[in-house]
Subunit: 106 residues, 4 copies
């Protein structure tokens, strides 16, 4: 349940004087975290001088930073991520069911 | 537990011929979703002509798209997001404990 | 000279009631444009259903949108992009001179 | 003329063994640079601990990095940015002429 993760973030955020940043500031933070993932992508798979071991170790942390930043935005807006995630999976299974090739079944 | 959400995504992904895109392609998809959130931010809080009701309705879906894209990257790399999230919360509570002002306690 | 392009943008911007958006709103707009480029990248080079011809036609416009958004930010902050560009090229030629492999010279 | 700037970048790029990175790698680099601008935005205008003087000094360099990365993509794809910029300005003046409030003229 994403709700549990949202709640853990909120419990921490509520200890702060300004639990959540203003939305456009939250968004800039999200973009910053995504840029960090981009940096690692280029060390791992792109044309940057390779630093594979370091980049692999950092990747999980940077991806969680993206999710954390996105969840802070969700919390600030009172968004129920489980309900939204359910809608997303429905779309994956149904609306987009012919969009990508499926595995063959004998 | 983020693991459950990761698993739900993986169950769907495994029905596809190419369960996960190559990393740099996953990253471009993540950036695209973040751009969609930016678009809504400007309709809600920025200088774009206001479309508040529509944008509010869409925001949850776009934030989930960001989380979904980030989790696809995590799945492709075998990342345990719960372990990473725990490290993140530890940092919030400990390493950054003096970084942001706390609420006063009487 | 980037100055000419900055000036052309400014001449247009000055016809508007709000010539430049607030910085965080400009930034969200920049991210949105970058997301558009990401979308095209995945149509051209990634795993999205290919729409090569359309995407190729749109790419120049989307890249210019990124540059335009970046220049609006520069204009709002009174940044002299030619001076900054000169510093950038100096760094390319000097500071990073051993960072990427050079072509061999006989 | 953006062409001159594109050409200066190309003259440098052509001294490298791999003048331009593959497109998805260029895109990740662009996102990384945009994330750097986002970081400064939050130091200047957001809720991050303020480092106004440093951030102001760095901003021009980070914005030029975005433009540089976008121009590398344009160069790799043979895009004539002046032609695209002209189309963009036409759109600003004509297609979007009623989109934003204009200054009053007596």
């Amino acid at each position: 349940m994403l709700k549990d993760t949202q709640k853990q973030i909120d419990e921490w955020a509520q200890t702060l004087e300004e639990p959540y940043w203003p939305p456009l500031s939250q968004f800039a933070a999200l973009s910053e975290e995504v840029g960090e993932v981009g940096r690692l992508m280029n060390h791992l798979y792109g044309s940057k001088p390779k630093k594979v071991e370091e980049a692999n170790q950092e990747l999980g942390g940077e991806i969680v930073d993206v999710i954390f930043a996105a969840m802070c935005m969700a919390n600030r807006h009172g968004i129920d991520l489980d309900a939204e995630f359910e809608k997303k999976m429905d779309k994956c299974y149904w609306r987009d069911r012919d969009r990508f090739a499926k595995k063959d079944h004998a």
